[in-house]
């Protein structure tokens, strides 16, 4: 690993060895929001375990989101890193609010790779946030719910039926500790992520007879890794109008393990849920938060 997705602070990570393995050899995984951050970390981890990848990102600005989203250049860089790890890669520019774009991407993925085995619903936005519930505008509320909750549901609409038909598949929804507890001034985000945990459980029951598993991963505060080009933590801090370093320090203090979560820690959980090692796990929530929600 080239100083990438697991920083020096990671203590006791249980991920794959640096060279990668073959836990997902021959599988095809579709990852949304793959241009950077957790999406890039997950894509790269899946590639290192032998999966081929379909990488989706909005790769452009979203009106109403106060910070730049992933770019086409970043998506291409994720693809290049995955190819170097041995994966065949298909990239598509797609907004998770656009069902037709997701269906077209799923069609292309199936035509290219024969089948889709893993769906990682990672695309999401952290802002507009930072204000009490009664100050959120109708448009801001709709945008947040539409991307963070609606986006995962639409990707499941595009891919779930195919997995059910083939009688196998694993869907991993990247939720948040905001899907388990509340955060002040983040009503829209917290509601969307709680919704995503609910969606996970319901769809898990829909698909259980067809051997398609659906689980959620709830990361705590993930460090903005330079190589992954993450900026979630920075944007949350900006929403709260506190310096990033102060925000980071506060989170570290609040976490029983006294360390931020690294992108690779989350990717390891995703790998486990994507692989057959978790074959009897469905409808569950894996929390990767250094113990933050344990108390």
């Amino acid at each position: 690993m080239t100083g990438g997705d697991r920083g020096p602070a990671a203590d006791g990570g249980t991920g794959p060895p640096a060279g990668g393995g073959a836990r997902l050899a021959g599988r095809t995984a579709l990852v949304t929001g793959a241009a950077r951050g957790l999406g890039r970390a997950c894509a790269l981890a899946l590639a290192r375990e032998g999966a081929d990848l379909v990488l989706l990102d909005v790769a452009g600005e979203l009106p109403g989101v106060p910070y730049p989203l992933g770019s086409a250049s970043q998506l291409a860089h994720t693809a290049a890193l995955c190819r170097e790890a041995g994966a065949a890669v298909l990239t598509r520019q797609a907004d998770v609010r656009d069902l037709a774009a997701l269906e077209a991407a799923a069609d292309a993925a199936e035509e290219r790779f024969g089948r889709i085995d893993v769906l990682v619903n990672n695309a999401g936005i952290a802002a507009p946030s930072g204000r009490p519930a009664h100050e959120i505008t109708e448009a801001e509320w709709q945008l947040m719910i539409d991307v963070d909750l609606g986006g995962a549901w639409r990707a499941i609409r595009a891919v779930g039926g195919r997995m059910a038909a083939q009688g196998s598949g694993s869907i991993v929804n990247i939720a948040s500790t905001a899907g388990l507890v509340g955060y002040r001034h983040f009503a829209g985000y917290v509601a969307a992520k709680h919704g995503l945990v609910g969606l996970t459980k319901a769809v898990a029951l829909d698909y259980a007879p067809r051997k398609v598993r659906v689980n959620a991963v709830c990361p705590g505060s993930v460090r903005d890794d330079a190589a992954m080009e993450g900026r979630m933590l920075a944007e949350i801090a900006r929403s709260l109008e506190v310096p990033v370093a102060e925000h980071e320090a506060a989170f570290v203090r609040d976490q029983p393990m006294n360390a931020l979560v690294e992108p690779g820690d989350v990717a390891d959980a995703v790998l486990w849920l994507a692989s057959d090692e978790s074959r009897r796990v469905t409808g569950s929530v894996v929390t990767v938060d250094g113990g933050f929600t344990a108390r």
Partner: protein, 867 residues
């Protein structure tokens, strides 16, 4: 039960492009299965050489993949790292075809492959409809032709056995099968020594292993031999395939062998058969000398080819005026006549003091047509400097008004000198202050353009800017790069070049596709680009003239993805004809903060040598020496300096090397890292200060969009007088407080390299050439306490500490908010303070503490906490 899927991997001829292949696939599919769901072509680049294990694994993985439900066929085109030539449309690759086993069979796949390889027309392949044809026997003609093909190929490859596929009728085919009449069986020709013609002709073709029955039902899924005969019409004999790449040997040689098989006695040993005709044998023996490389061209000769090829295409745009190639040429002819009338003769030097206008380029070309040498004199330079430069050079004439060159009688025709003759003299400022004129021949410039033409895909569709002064050799690249590749050159006037917003508007308006900039100017342009118009025509940015910091390019890539606009960093020197190396910069290099300037251009060479001219050990720094096609003739009228800088190449008696005075390091991949000027190296107590590294750390800060570092003092040996000052331009939305920037730098840099001050500027000053103008940087910012501090605290440790600061820094009054660095502190002063503190009974002060708590008050508080 048919197998789940069939797969076939074939290599592609290098001339097949992705687009052509995709079109051929779509057209063939529509012809065979009209109205059906047609396969798409999927392209994938494997980041490893075609022969590597990685590539083999990828081919195997593609072959294993099932076909999606509802699809008949998948076509995946694999390209490889070693087949990739940037800018080239066509590369070698493998085509992996996979078919749904219930729809198609392996033979159909082979036909698809042959159609896509261009060996067979799509309409020559019959899709299955109706009953199968009756048996066809393998006739004598087919047998002889297969044997002749095997013998001929065997003579080329030296293989003892050659397999040839011969057409046989097909039997059991799946519903969408193709080519119902042309199945294949395999004739394995044993060519080992001692075998005779009769034995060869008696060889029976067999169905590939595992096939039921004798000859007529080839097994599905078996790999076909590379050599295939084409089925004849009706019951006629097979023929040689006619497609261009289907035969690895010339068809007439196969025919030559076939005649020998037919006419010769059956007992003839196979080694007597000769594919070569008598004249071919003779030619083969005569070979042994390689053709000479074409002689390099003069600039005006190379331009004449463009004028002849596209006389009416636009060549120059200046403001509202555009000249075609023919107009440019005609006007330059007229100017050349004028030069002759003014007494200019071959080999004379002609000063050009013209603004960036069409006439400047016309006059340059005219000087070359007159077989003279042009000496650009920047009209923005002071008149005295221009005059002195012209006098030193000994110019015959200085052109300041092009009107003086018009209306003269034609000059007599004469033979122009060779391409090795000088074309221009460009002056570079030396460390001694007296400019040196670098004498560059024609051939260097045409070699430069030829060296990058293919890689950069330079073509007549391109529009270039001439942004730089004619006195800066970056303009040589801009002008001749455009005109010798048939492009259009847009001249940027002085005032537009000084305004990033206006220049950006020009790029949009003129739809510029090839842009050359110094990194400093590009940083300002990139800032203007955040709010400027659409640069959709821009496809290539060449950065040169200064060291590049890649990190700030991330924002540019977000707006201009690398696959739409390529960014190339070039290292170069006037003495080696503008450029030496090129490195394509992508997000990867920017994220890694790469400082590589890449590999030498084709024809240029780079050596990193020590002071004795020996190669340094791998990865060690040394002086960059440049050899090859770009080395200039020398300095004008400076034989001693020329002999000092242009030295014989120890490895090549005919070659010369230019000693650049630059420090560099060669990576194991042959890529050069440029480490700065050797003269600029400043050492403090044995530690070298690397301004580039300091700048690099500053630029990694997300709050910083541009940075400059100055190192002053210390050259006369007083290390304590060395002072490092930094200047930063804040990133959009970042604050104006330099404090956090310096704190971050202090955490990341070794103590002797931490800047004493960080000054925030709205923009960095640039020279007329677009490089950082260090002389125009303001005095380093000070954050002195506005009012003298109320009352200097007298209690220890404050009082003692303040006294130490006063002694060491030589400042009379110091308040608790005064900052060590703002008072001129540096790392050696810090060490002295630490020493004095211990001597005077205070706790030791680690150097780092002064960075963390740089004010007297804060330091004092920190010491109190320690105690």
């Amino acid at each position: 039960m048919p197998p789940a899927h069939h797969t076939l991997t074939v290599s592609l001829p290098p001339t097949v492009t992705d687009t052509a292949l995709a079109t051929a696939l779509a057209a063939a599919a529509e012809l065979w299965w009209p109205g059906g769901r047609h396969p798409r072509l999927w392209s994938e680049t494997v980041p490893a050489p075609a022969g590597s294990d990685t590539a083999a694994r990828r081919r195997a993985a593609e072959a294993r993949r099932p076909v999606a439900p509802g699809h008949r066929l998948r076509a995946v085109l694999l390209r490889y790292a070693d087949g990739l030539r940037a800018g080239a449309a066509a590369t070698d690759g493998d085509l992996v075809l996979t078919a749904d086993g219930s729809a198609l069979d392996a033979r159909s796949l082979r036909l698809v492959a042959r159609v896509l390889r261009g060996e067979l027309a799509a309409d020559a392949v019959t899709p299955l409809d109706g009953p199968l044809a009756p048996d066809l026997r393998l006739d004598e003609e087919t047998r002889r032709l297969a044997a002749a093909l095997a013998v001929t190929v065997g003579r080329y490859t030296g293989e003892p056995a050659v397999r040839v596929a011969v057409p046989v009728p097909a039997l059991d085919r799946p519903p969408y099968a193709l080519g119902a009449l042309d199945g294949y069986a395999v004739l394995t020709a044993d060519l080992s020594p001692g075998r005779t013609v009769a034995e060869l002709l008696a060889t029976e073709p067999v169905a590939p292993a595992g096939a039921p029955g004798p000859l007529l039902a080839p097994a599905e899924g078996a790999e076909p031999p590379a050599l295939e005969l084409a089925a004849g019409t009706g019951a006629g004999p097979a023929t040689l395939p006619t497609a261009p790449d289907a035969l690895p040997v010339p068809a007439h040689q196969v025919e030559h062998v076939r005649r020998q098989l037919l006419d010769g006695p059956p007992g003839t040993p196979l080694h007597r058969l000769d594919p070569l005709t008598a004249s071919e044998s003779a030619e083969q023996r005569a070979l042994g000398t390689t053709p000479k490389a074409p002689a390099p061209l003069r600039i005006d000769e190379a331009l004449a080819a463009q004028v002849a090829a596209r006389p009416d295409a636009a060549a120059l745009t200046a403001g509202a005026v555009t000249l075609s190639y023919a107009e440019l040429n005609d006007r330059a002819e007229e100017f050349a006549d004028g030069l002759y009338a003014h007494g200019v003769r071959p080999g004379d030097l002609v000063g050009l003091c013209l603004p960036r206008s069409a006439d400047l380029v016309v006059a340059m070309l005219a000087v070359l047509k007159a077989d003279a040498v042009h000496v650009p004199l920047d009209p923005e330079h002071p008149a005295d400097r221009r005059e002195r430069t012209a006098r030193d050079a000994g110019v015959r004439l200085t052109v300041g008004d092009p009107a003086a060159l018009t209306g003269h009688p034609p000059r007599p025709a004469g033979e122009r000198r060779v391409a090795g003759a000088p074309a221009y003299v460009i002056h570079t400022s030396g460390s001694t202050g007296r400019p040196k004129g670098v004498l560059v021949p024609h051939a260097n410039v045409t070699a430069l353009v030829d060296a990058v033409r293919d890689d950069f895909g330079l073509c007549p569709d391109d529009t270039w800017t001439c942004f730089h002064s004619a006195a800066f050799d970056f303009s040589v690249w801009e002008i001749w790069g455009a005109l010798l590749t048939g492009g259009r050159l847009v001249l940027v006037d002085h005032w537009t070049s000084r305004s990033p917003e206006d220049f950006h508007a020009l790029l949009v308006r003129e739809r510029v596709s090839v842009l050359s900039q110094t990194p400093s100017a590009f940083t300002q342009l990139a800032a203007a680009d955040r709010t400027g118009g659409d640069l959709s025509a821009l496809r290539l940015v060449v950065l040169g003239g200064e060291p590049l910091d890649t990190r700030p390019l991330l924002g540019w890539f977000d707006r201009h993805p690398e696959d739409r606009c390529r960014l190339v960093n070039m290292y170069g020197i006037t003495e080696t004809t503008v450029h030496v190396t090129a490195a394509t910069v992508t997000r990867r290099e920017a994220l890694a903060g790469s400082r590589s300037v890449g590999r030498p251009l084709p024809g240029w060479s780079v050596r990193v040598l020590d002071a004795h001219g020996r190669p340094v050990p791998p990865g060690a720094p040394g002086e960059i020496h440049v050899g090859g096609a770009g080395v200039a003739l020398g300095y004008l009228n400076r034989p001693a300096l020329t002999a000092e800088r242009f030295v014989p190449d120890p490895l090549d008696p005919a070659g010369r090397l230019y000693r650049s005075g630059d420090l560099g390091r060669l990576g194991p991949d042959g890529a050069l890292e440029h480490l700065g000027r050797i003269d600029d190296q400043v050492k403090v107590r044995g530690f070298r200060i690397e301004p580039g590294e300091i700048r690099h750390v500053l630029l990694e800060d997300p709050a910083v969009s541009a940075a400059a570092v100055t190192v002053t003092g210390g050259r006369d040996g007083d290390a304590a007088a060395v002072r490092i000052d930094a200047y930063v331009v804040p990133a959009p939305g970042a604050g104006e407080d330099p404090g956090p920037v310096r704190e971050r730098a202090a955490r990341l840099l070794p103590a002797h390299m931490v800047p004493a001050t960080v000054t925030v500027l709205p923009v960095l000053p640039l020279t007329a050439n677009g490089k950082l103008d260090a002389a125009r940087l303001p005095a380093p910012g000070t954050r002195r306490t506005p009012e003298p501090a109320a009352a200097p605290r007298e209690a220890a440790p404050d009082g003692v500490l303040a006294a130490i600061w006063r002694d060491v820094l030589g400042v009379a009054e110091i308040g608790p908010d005064d900052d060590f660095w703002d008072l001129g502190g540096n790392s050696l002063y810090a060490i002295r303070i630490g020493t004095l503190a211990r001597e005077r009974g205070l706790p030791g002060i680690p150097l780092r503490q002064l960075y963390l708590t740089p004010t007297l008050g804060a330091l004092s508080d920190a010491l109190a906490r320690e105690a």
